[in-house]
Every structure is written in structure tokens, then in C-alpha cells.
């Protein structure tokens, strides 16, 4: 085993605190990573329960179960919970767990700030969800919080704004921690272009977060002052401009989409080479493509608002810049395919989720290209086609890769292998039902069904029923995920340190489960090279 006895002895002299206090006060990156992942899982099921309410109501035309106001709250809070509560914390959790292990650092650079940024989140989401119990109900104007509709909310309005500020502060602190850890705490010899792709994609994501989360915070602060302090940033009657909110919001919102997806590219770039037993094809190109996508994400925002009316030159610019994103994204997709080409492939759950990502994210990308065409977008705007598009990007895109990442590193974290059979069941049920759920929504959108409505014309009934059946199937099959993790934590076949035959990288040089403290003695140059260049034919352990 490459992790030396000296280093192991160094790790074991520290004791691990126990009980509730351990989790409240912990500054250990593995503990905080675990907290983020548990929080994300809880929010995934909270947001998922809201999705079930939405699909239940839409199972048949007519109003069945909930009133329209509550339905609108469901769509709004489902989105906020999934984006800010499930996907983003999951990425931060994976970053916390893996970045120090992958760059040879003993912990994140600012461990106390790390603890603080996590513990802001439960307060933020309690505040958001308490909105359901105050007069006027939870926010119902959509996750984009457009004024003037959103300013007409009830007592939950300031609670939502404060919750968003807390989430934003948490994200910015998390991002700062990631950047300063990667830029300063790398082991000697771990040059930037030797870093694993997951670290690279997270570094770029963190810069995006710092650039755009303050923009969202600024936008919601102005909403707050418009509502309570008599300003007119977005009120036309006072000299303000509601469309300006949309510009500011989407200047945040579009890079946010890449915040949700770039770490997914990193995970796929780790998983596919491992299970193809080949090095990643075009490592440098992958890094530059990620950076290009991040740059382009800042100059495409108005494609979300073609229909507000803008000069033709503006529409052309945003249409063409949006289409340009297909180039670096295409580089990535072809590189992943080239990595698999003539590889010795095996199909364990992480690889299955990564391959599903490749197919289904590409479908989401293609419908994105359709939406980028300005004249066509006038037809698609605010229809279920848009709902289908972004769910293809976020569910088989972000969520599937989070699952791929968890299934990939779980044996490293727990020291046990999980049930491959159950993992494959989880994959196949998810992959089938996600398509039954979202593919028909393309048809509904093209036929003209608007989004965010609790009732619809009878011509949309059939595909809505199919979509709801897919939704219930997908929701139920996700219960397997925590069960598999729980079983894996409790026991199972002992995991080796390398776990997967084709795995490469510093984290696989550590024993499984990873000790509480790692890399207190920085890994040697030889170990870094060995980790980066391990080939299965050289043997694992």
C-alpha cells in the first residue's frame, strides 16, 4: 500500500470527538462533507415530495388535490429546494470530501469558515419552509422571483429573501474555501495541470459562484427595499424597470446553470476513465473547454428572456453566443466517447450513471440549442418544452452524476463495498422512469401546454398521465439510494484501497475507509506521479 506506515501512524494519534458536539463543531473536511451530503439528501426528498404533489395534481385535467395558490408554491419551493438545497450542497459536500484528498492537503484551508458555511444552510431552509405556515403561504411567484408578481407575496416574502441571502453567503464562503484550498494547499509537485478533472471543474465553478452569487444577493436586496423601504428599482410607476430585474437575475441565473453542471463534468471525467481502464482522452482540452464554457456563461443570459422585446442585434448576439457553447461542450462529449473507445469497459453503477449522463445530458443540450433559436423560442417560451429541457439537464445531468460520484467514492469513505445488484436496480429504474417522466413533456410543450399551471386543456391529458406515472416511478425508485448507502455504512464486503481496478489519483493511495486525518504528511512526488499515472496493468493492491 502506497500510503506509508509513517503517515498512517501520524493520522492515528488524533482522536475523533463523538456525539452531537462533534457534528456541530467539526472542522474536519470529511465530517463537513458528510453533513453537506446528508443535508442534500434530505432536501432532495423534500423537493421530491413537492414534485410528487405537482405530478399528482397534473395526473388528470381539472383541479383535484390542491388549490392553485398552493400548486404555485409547490413549483416555486420545489425549484429553490432542489437547486439551492439538493444539488449545490451535494457538490459542496463532494468537494469537501474529495478535494483535499485529491490534491494532497490535510484539510480545507479555512476549516472554521467551512463549518460556518454548512451550518447556515439548515437555518436558511427552515426559514424558507416556514413560509408555508405564515399568512399568504410560501412564495408562489416562481423561483425566478420576478417582480411585480413576487412583490405581491404574503408574509413569507421577507423570509424567502433572508433565506436566499443566507444560502448565498454559505455558497460564497464555500467557494472561497475551495479556491484558496486548491490554489494554496496542493502538495508540492501537484501542478495545476496534474490535478484531477473534478478539482479543475470545481475550481472554475467556485470562481463562477463568487462572481454571480453576489449578483443574486443584490437583486433580492433590491426586491426587499422595493417592498419595504419605498425604493423603485423594479417598479415602473416609480421610474424603475421590472425588466432590469430579469437582466440582473439571469446574469446570475445562467452561470448558475453551469455551477450546477460543471462539477458533473468533473465526476464523469473521473468515472469514465476508471471503468474504461484508460487515461482520460484530451485532458488539457477538457480543462480549456470547461474554462470556455464558464466564460461563455456570462454572455448568454438574455436567451432566457427573448420575449421581453429587445433589439434584433441583441437577439442575434445572445442567440449566437448561446449556440457557441455547443462547441466546448461537444469537445467534452467527444472526449468522453474517445476515452471509452477501445477501452476495457465494465458497467458498475458509477459507470452506468455516467453513460446515462452522456446520452441524456446530450438530449438536454440539443433541446437547449432549439431554445437558443430566437424566433423559435417565441413559440417555446414558458411551455413544458422548457420544463423538459432543464429537467433533462438537471436530473440525468446533475443528479445522475452526483449519484455516480457517491457510488464511485462510497467504498473509499465507508471501507465497505455496496450491493452492486441493488445499485444496478437503482440505476435502471431511474434511467427508465426519468425518460417516462420528462420525455413526454417535450410533446406537451410543443403542443402548447404552458408551464406553472395546475389545470390544463383535455388535449394534454394523455402525455400528462404518462409523465406522472414516470414521476411516481422515479420518486419511488430513489428510496433505494439511501437504503443502499445505509447498508453500505453498516457493513459489507471490505473495500481495498484502490477499490476499482482502473482508478487513478491520490485518493486511491489512501486506505479504505480513509482515516479521520489524511495527508498531514504531504504525499511525495513519486506518490503523486504514481497516483496520476496508475494503470490497471501495473496492478492495484
Amino acid at each position: 500500500m502506497a500510503y506509508t506506515a509513517h503517515a498512517a501512524a501520524h493520522d492515528h494519534h488524533d482522536h475523533k470527538p463523538s456525539g452531537l458536539w462533534r457534528w456541530l463543531s467539526t472542522t474536519n473536511h470529511k465530517d463537513i462533507g458528510t453533513l453537506y451530503l446528508i443535508f442534500s439528501c434530505v432536501m432532495f426528498f423534500v423537493g421530491g415530495a413537492m414534485a410528487m404533489v405537482i405530478r399528482l395534481e397534473l395526473f388528470k385535467p381539472g383541479l383535484q388535490f390542491v388549490d392553485p395558490q398552493f400548486f404555485n408554491s409547490m413549483t416555486t419551493v420545489h425549484a429553490l429546494a432542489m437547486i439551492f438545497g439538493a444539488v449545490m450542497p451535494a457538490w459542496v459536500g463532494l468537494a469537501n470530501w474529495m478535494i483535499p484528498l485529491q490534491v494532497g492537503a490535510p484539510d480545507m484551508a479555512l476549516p472554521r469558515m467551512n463549518n460556518f458555511s454548512f451550518w447556515l444552510l439548515p437555518f436558511a431552509f427552515t426559514l424558507l419552509l416556514l413560509g408555508f405556515f405564515v399568512p399568504g403561504g410560501a412564495p408562489a411567484g416562481g423561483w425566478t422571483l420576478y417582480p411585480p408578481l413576487n412583490l405581491q407575496g404574503g408574509d413569507s416574502f421577507p423570509m424567502t429573501i433572508f433565506a436566499i441571502h443566507l444560502m448565498g453567503a454559505s455558497s460564497i464562503m464555500g467557494a472561497i474555501n475551495v479556491i484558496v484550498t486548491i490554489m494554496n494547499m496542493r502538495a508540492p509537485g501537484m501542478s495545476l495541470l496534474r490535478m484531477p478533472l473534478f478539482v479543475w471543474t470545481w475550481l472554475i465553478t467556485a470562481y463562477l459562484l463568487i462572481a454571480v452569487m453576489p449578483v443574486l444577493a443584490g437583486a433580492v436586496t433590491m426586491l426587499l427595499t422595493d417592498h419595504f423601504f419605498g425604493t423603485s428599482f423594479f417598479s415602473a410607476s416609480g421610474g424603475g424597470d421590472p425588466v432590469m430585474f430579469q437582466h440582473i437575475f439571469w446574469f446570475f441565473g445562467h452561470p448558475e446553470v453551469y455551477i450546477l453542471i460543471l462539477p458533473a463534468f468533473g465526476i464523469v471525467s473521473e468515472v469514465i476513465p476508471t471503468f474504461s481502464r484508460k487515461p482520460l482522452f484530451g485532458y488539457d482540452a477538457m480543462v480549456y473547454a470547461t474554462a470556455s464554457i464558464a466564460f461563455l456563461s456570462f454572455i448568454v443570459w438574455a436567451h432566457h428572456m427573448f420575449t421581453v422585446g429587445m433589439p434584433l442585434a441583441g437577439e442575434l448576439f445572445f442567440m449566437l453566443s448561446t449556440m457557441l457553447i455547443a462547441v466546448p461542450t461537444g469537445v467534452k462529449v467527444f472526449n468522453w466517447c474517445a476515452t471509452m473507445w477501445r477501452g476495457s469497459l465494465s458497467f458498475e453503477p458509477p459507470m452506468l450513471f455516467a453513460i446515462a449522463f452522456l446520452f441524456l445530458f446530450t438530449i438536454g443540450g440539443f433541446s437547449g440549442l432549439m431554445l437558443a433559436v430566437a424566433p423559435a423560442d417565441f413559440q417555446y417560451q414558458d411551455t413544458y418544452f422548457v420544463v423538459a429541457h432543464f429537467h433533462y439537464v438537471l436530473v440525468p445531468g446533475s443528479i445522475f452524476t452526483i449519484m455516480a460520484g457517491v457510488y464511485y467514492w462510497l467504498p473509499k469513505w465507508t471501507g465497505h463495498m455496496y450491493s452492486m445488484t441493488l445499485g444496478k436496480w437503482h440505476f435502471w429504474l431511474s434511467a427508465i422512469f426519468v425518460n417516462v417522466l420528462f420525455f413526454p413533456q417535450h410533446f406537451l410543450g410543443l403542443a402548447g401546454m404552458p408551464r406553472r399551471i395546475p389545470d390544463y386543456a383535455t388535449q394534454f391529458a394523455d402525455w400528462n398521465m404518462v409523465s406522472s406515472i414516470g414521476g411516481f416511478g422515479f420518486g419511488l425508485s430513489q428510496l433505494l439510494f439511501p437504503y443502499i448507502i445505509y447498508k453500505c455504512i453498516r457493513g459489507g464486503e471490505k473495500a481495498t484501497s484502490r477499490v476499482w481496478e482502473g482508478a487513478r489519483g491520490l485518493e486511491w493511495e489512501l486506505p479504505s475507509p480513509t482515516p479521520y486525518h489524511t495527508w498531514e504528511v504531504a504525499p511525495s512526488m513519486a506518490l503523486i506521479h504514481q497516483g496520476a499515472e496508475h494503470h490497471p496493468e501495473q496492478g492495484g493492491d
Binding site: L110, V180, N184, M185, I210, P214, A217, G218, F233, I248
Partner: protein, 41 residues
């Protein structure tokens, strides 16, 4: 050797974190200021 290296790394990290925090605050304030001018808010 390792302790000295880690201390040095942490010092640089704190400085960089402070600069990034200032950058985030500047973006926050900058967007609000820009909106004040744009909307006569």
C-alpha cells in the same frame, strides 16, 4: 518541514480569502449602485 509548509500555505490562503471576500462585496455593491443609476431608484 511539513508544518512550516502548511503554515505558509494557510497564511497565503487567508490573505487570498480576504481578497475574494472583498471582490464578492464589490460585485454586490456594484450591481446595486448600477441599478440605482439605471432606475433612479
Amino acid at each position: 518541514m511539513d508544518d512550516r509548509l502548511r503554515d505558509q500555505q494557510r497564511r497565503r490562503a487567508r490573505l487570498m480569502a480576504f481578497a475574494l471576500m472583498l471582490l464578492a462585496l464589490a460585485i454586490y455593491g456594484g450591481f446595486i449602485l448600477m441599478s440605482v443609476h439605471r432606475s433612479h431608484g
